[in-house]
């Protein structure tokens, strides 16, 4: 017989709960201060220049936006693919998706030259611009996932939640396609200019979003002192492994394709061999930390069962993801424009010759971290107000196929 799952708020009176809010709140305030400082003084107090126009804040912003759509996956698996075992986690998954997107967008907006003109961006649409499309996709995501969440939480609307789930799934795929296309459509930069960017971002979003979801889920249940079944953790960590491998597959195909094209040899040599910090971040950050190590941790029999190892693997996926964004976004701009193929500028009175340098400033990093903290602080606040999570996530409670071990 199908068991009825009881959802609950969190108590939120413990010292730990308030400590968490204080720490995250302080980071949010620091981020807000950094944004104010950059807005007041202008672009030049950042490490960004005329050549590197998107820097550290965008690394965090794009990462969070990509992760947001991935965080919705758990909900999609339950509603679109009808996997009952994932259903109890669906509201938390949708909540995390909204909070991550909000955190990412806050960074993106505050890093705009003119955040005060957001109303202009909302009222004058150039429909040829993928950037304008993204604004529609982001706003639509809030609405659709918001409705989905409402249908899941409101019993009278529960019958419609499946349809809302379908819409949200379709929308999230479109959203990440749009985010990837911000880079894929840029033919002027050798580091982007590839249709594979869109599907690559979709698969990357699966991994980033699930890694954050796993951490949030495990932290929530561990801090609440409630049970989180091994079956659920095992299922999610195996899925995370598949997503990491999928993301790495796309990275390999992307670089192999570029290596095959002679005109892309320059940029590939830059990323894979000669790019200094970008090469190091690619191999050590993106591939080793973000791919190989978590895969080992998740699948090695010794570590695969340890929740500490799984948490650690999830953190590595997040760090690797940030490295990947840095290589893609900053590295893609640092590589010089090839005005005359094979020739490079030897002198320029404007400091714009050769490979562009970028040193992120503290303010930029704080804005990024502040946005991340903002995404996270919404979770404990929302969990205290509404019933997003099941009282218990014990396997016997939520898994219809659960058999007691003999």
């Amino acid at each position: 017989m199908k068991k009825k799952i009881t959802y609950t708020e969190i108590e939120g009176r413990s010292l730990g709960y308030y400590a968490l809010l204080v720490v995250l709140g302080a980071l949010v305030l620091l981020g807000a201060g950094a944004a104010l400082y950059m807005e007041h003084n202008g672009h030049y107090v950042t490490g960004m220049s005329n050549q590197i126009v998107w820097g550290m804040p965008h690394v965090f912003a794009v990462f969070l936006i990509v992760a947001a759509s991935g965080a919705l996956n758990v909900a999609s698996i339950s509603s679109v693919f009808a996997k009952t075992a994932y259903k109890p986690m669906a509201p938390l998954s949708a909540l995390l998706a909204i909070s991550l997107l909000l955190g990412g967008l806050v960074i993106l907006v505050l890093d705009l030259g003119h955040p005060d003109r957001l109303i202009v961006a909302m009222t004058f649409y150039n429909f040829k611009s993928i950037f304008a499309w993204n604004m529609i996709l982001y706003n639509g995501f809030f609405v659709i996932v918001g409705v989905y969440l409402w249908f899941m939480l409101d019993r009278t609307m529960a019958n419609y939640s499946k349809y809302a789930g379908f819409a949200a799934f379709f929308w999230r795929l479109t959203l990440t396609t749009g985010t990837g296309s911000i880079f894929g459509f840029i033919v002027a930069r050798q580091g982007f200019d590839s249709a594979i960017m869109a599907p690559m971002f979709v698969v990357m979003s699966f991994a980033y979003g699930l890694a954050i979801f796993l951490l949030v889920l495990m932290a929530t249940y561990s801090w609440r002192g409630a049970e989180l079944g091994d079956g659920t953790v095992r299922r999610l960590k195996n899925l995370l492994g598949v997503f990491i491998a999928g993301a790495m597959y796309f990275v390999v195909v992307f670089h192999l394709t570029n290596l095959y094209m002679t005109k892309h040899h320059g940029v590939e040599a830059f990323t894979l061999r000669d790019g200094g910090i970008y090469t190091q971040l690619f191999w050590y950050g993106e591939i080793l930390v973000g791919g190989v190590l978590p895969l080992i941790l998740l699948y090695l029999p010794v570590t695969g069962k340890s929740r500490i190892a799984i948490s650690f693997a999830s953190i590595l996926v997040i760090l690797g993801g940030l490295a990947q964004m840095y290589v893609t976004i900053v590295g893609g701009q640092a590589y010089p424009l090839e005005m005359f193929p094979g020739k490079e500028i030897i002198a320029s009175s404007f400091f714009d010759a050769g490979v562009k340098s970028y040193t992120p400033t503290l303010a930029e990093a704080l804005l990024g971290i502040g946005g991340f903290a903002m995404a996270l602080i919404m979770i404990p606040l929302a969990l205290r107000i509404l019933r997003f999570i099941p009282v218990s996530m014990a396997d016997a409670e939520i898994d219809p196929h659960y058999r007691e071990a003999k």
């Binding site: 030049y44 404007f350 400091f351």
Partner: protein, 243 residues
């Protein structure tokens, strides 16, 4: 349709930066200002320039030569920076083909900077909007100026007349004739952006002098029936007299 543009003669550009400074002077004081510079005379200077001169070295040492390459917005006929702008702040004027930015509509997302394959987009770090060469649109139509001065500041300032201004769609304009007759070319035509600005290539003029040409076969003194002068080392009158 008119398409205003610059033609830059790389053969005579000497890299003096007069175009850079005059551009900065005119535009800083005009509606396109401020074109902020930060720390211009100290460590890590940054600044907004609509026109930059970059220097390339051609060939392998020791057979090398230096090429000065002035670069500003090329006012493409199909500009990639225009479709990417989310608010439509970046636009191309129908009447004269100049690509401009509406500073009041620009939200400072800097996406156009990514899209321009020529790196001609500039952020004003203080005003936090994207800017670029306007072809001195506030000057070329200014009827209070004499006709001869209704040209972009850089064109007027160039000491070697390496910069020419006109309508590339008018086949009889000075610059169209230059482009046609002197091998004017567009930057990266394979992108299909159809840059309106053109460059004239470096042109080598070599003078070949044959040895025979150094000896005068038709000495004009013959016509005057005077014998050619003595060889330089032959004894002179001073050598043969003793007083």
């Amino acid at each position: 349709m008119t398409q205003l543009a610059l033609v830059i003669d790389l053969n005579v550009c000497v890299g003096c930066h007069a175009c850079v400074t005059s551009c900065k002077e005119w535009n800083t004081s005009g509606p396109a200002g401020f074109m902020t510079d930060e720390n211009p005379y100290s460590k890590d200077p940054t600044g907004t320039f609509f026109n930059r001169v970059q220097t390339y070295e051609i060939g392998e040492f020791p057979a090398t030569e230096t090429l000065h390459f002035p670069k500003s917005c090329l006012h493409c006929e199909d500009p990639p920076c225009v479709p990417v702008c989310p608010t439509g702040a970046s636009y191309k004027r129908k009447e004269d083909g100049i690509v401009l930015v509406d500073y009041d509509k620009c939200i400072g997302c800097r996406y156009c900077s990514w899209a321009c394959p020529y790196g001609a987009r500039e952020i004003d770090e203080k005003q936090q909007v994207m800017k670029k060469c306007t072809l001195c649109v506030d000057r070329i139509y200014d009827t209070s100026l004499p006709d001869t001065e209704r040209k972009p500041a850089c064109v007027l300032a160039c000491p070697t007349s390496a910069r020419l201004f006109g309508d590339v769609h008018d086949s009889e304009s000075d610059i169209s004739i230059k482009i046609r007759e002197e091998g004017g070319y567009q930057l990266m035509p394979e992108w299909g952006t159809k840059p309106a600005n053109h460059y004239l290539p470096r042109r080598k003029t070599r003078l070949h002098i044959h040895e025979d040409e150094l000896v005068r076969a038709d000495n004009p003194l013959k016509k005057e029936q005077r014998g050619p002068s003595k060889p330089v080392d032959a004894p002179t009158l001073d050598d043969s007299t003793s007083w």
